[in-house]
């Protein structure tokens, strides 16, 4: 055992955390699918029944509170490990051209994860989620040409109601699930192909790799249980369309984006901020996903700039969003 730990210390295990964090993400997503599938047996997607069914799950069913808490905490842990995963992948320059499939599918999975989490928040049909979706769709309505169609698509009608909830539910359990699994399949397929081709992993003992992953995964599983048992998720207050809340608590991972959005004046030269914000976000996301094509080792200055810029961006963004959790 001592020998094993010495080996473990020597090989700087943190350096491999880009791969480990990926394994944990897979593990957490499997947990999310299992618990989510179980919760869907009892959940009722209607404005009247949503809160009531959650109350039934948590108060009446055996271990209902635990299953829902695990589902909730695993969702949050996904974004912590996602931040670590992206940071280390950038640090280790795993965005160069040979990693193009992993990188672009990874960016897709990141966007889908955020949407997955947000649709999960909406289906609790709490006061916060109701007003979040109302405000979001109202703001998107200001987009030229497409705005009103996006608003109608999100709401499923003129007002936020049962149609909106049904859409969020279908998105959460069906559409995003299928899309995520499809992209994840190509993500993992590319990883497996690389490891069998270049035997990157076989340089070190695969068994040691597996033991490391198992130990940390066991630790992660315990952490998930500790969070779920000692900080069980509470039942949110049900949506009240007649009572406008003083403030909306947005999802912590997108909080920096939201804060930045609120700082922009509503109109800049008669252009609504939602258009400016959408263009800025699209540029950042596009350049982020196109990094394997932009990055060129031969152009040293540009390469260094891009590397440092995205590293700094990830640290700043994750730091700001994590600050939101603790403050």
């Amino acid at each position: 055992m001592k020998e094993y730990f010495e080996k473990w210390a020597k090989k700087k295990v943190w350096w491999d955390w880009d791969n480990y964090s990926g394994i944990f993400l897979l593990f957490l997503i499997i947990i999310e699918i299992i618990t989510g599938f179980s919760l869907s047996f009892y959940y009722e997607a209607s404005p009247e029944g949503s809160n009531e069914s959650l109350r039934y799950i948590m108060n009446s069913l055996p271990y209902g509170w635990l299953i829902r808490s695990i589902h909730y905490w695993a969702g949050h842990l996904i974004f912590i490990f996602l931040s670590i995963h992206i940071f280390l992948k950038i640090l280790k320059k795993k965005f160069v051209k040979e990693y193009v499939v992993e990188w672009s599918t990874g960016v897709g999975l990141l966007i889908l994860s955020v949407l997955w989490f947000m649709s999960g928040r909406y289906i609790t049909w709490s006061q916060n989620s109701f007003w979040e979706i109302t405000t979001l769709s109202e703001e998107l309505n200001e987009l030229p040409i497409l705005g009103k169609y996006i608003r109608l698509f999100i709401r499923g009608g003129e007002s936020v109601g049962s149609q909106t909830l049904t859409r969020s539910y279908v998105f959460h359990i069906l559409f995003l699930g299928i899309l995520f699994s499809t992209i994840a399949f190509f993500h993992f397929k590319s990883i497996i192909n690389r490891h069998t081709d270049t035997s990157e992993v076989s340089k070190k003992s695969f068994a040691l790799y597996l033991i490391d992953a198992l130990i940390i995964m066991f630790f992660l599983f315990s952490l998930l249980l500790v969070f779920s048992v000692f900080l069980p998720v509470e039942l949110p207050p049900p949506a009240d369309p007649y009572a406008v809340p003083e403030k909306i608590d947005v999802f912590w991972f997108i909080y920096p984006l939201y804060k930045f959005y609120t700082l922009i004046p509503k109109h800049i030269f008669f252009i609504h901020r939602v258009l400016i914000f959408s263009i800025a976000c699209s540029i950042i996301l596009l350049s982020f996903s196109a990094l394997p094509f932009i990055y060129d080792e031969k152009k040293k200055y540009l390469a260094n700039f891009l590397h440092i810029f995205f590293l700094f961006f990830i640290i700043l963004y994750s730091g700001l969003s994590l600050l939101r959790v603790f403050l």
Partner: protein, 146 residues
Amino acid sequence: MEFETKESRRSILNKVIIGFFSLSALIIGIPLIRFLFPPSQIIEKRGRKMPVGRLKDIPEGSSKTVLFYGSPVMLINYGGGIKAVSAICPHMGCFLVWDERSGQIKCPCHFATFNVNGNVISGPSPEPLKTYRVEISDNKIFMVKE
């Protein structure tokens, strides 16, 4: 002194992996099975309680007719509480109406009258009206199937 072990590294590793997955499966599996297959009395409880309206929709002295498991039920806010009685007259099956002025339920067909608790005051009705249990939480009215 050296220990001689018959087991290879691979078999130990296999045992560790099997142990990890068995333990994890046990920790999450037992609650999951209990959650998916709860005792029958818990399942039966569900679906008996149904939201039928908001408290503010029925001001003091007024009534509202709702459908509860396919039967029309009259919710009456009278005397400081919500009462739920069948909206069908037991005599000939006519729809009953709430008379706000007299505080009585009346049948427009053969003039049977009932009080707010469903008891017959006058008229041809052979039996009192069926009553239902009502629960109020968060300003919402729930009806409970007995």
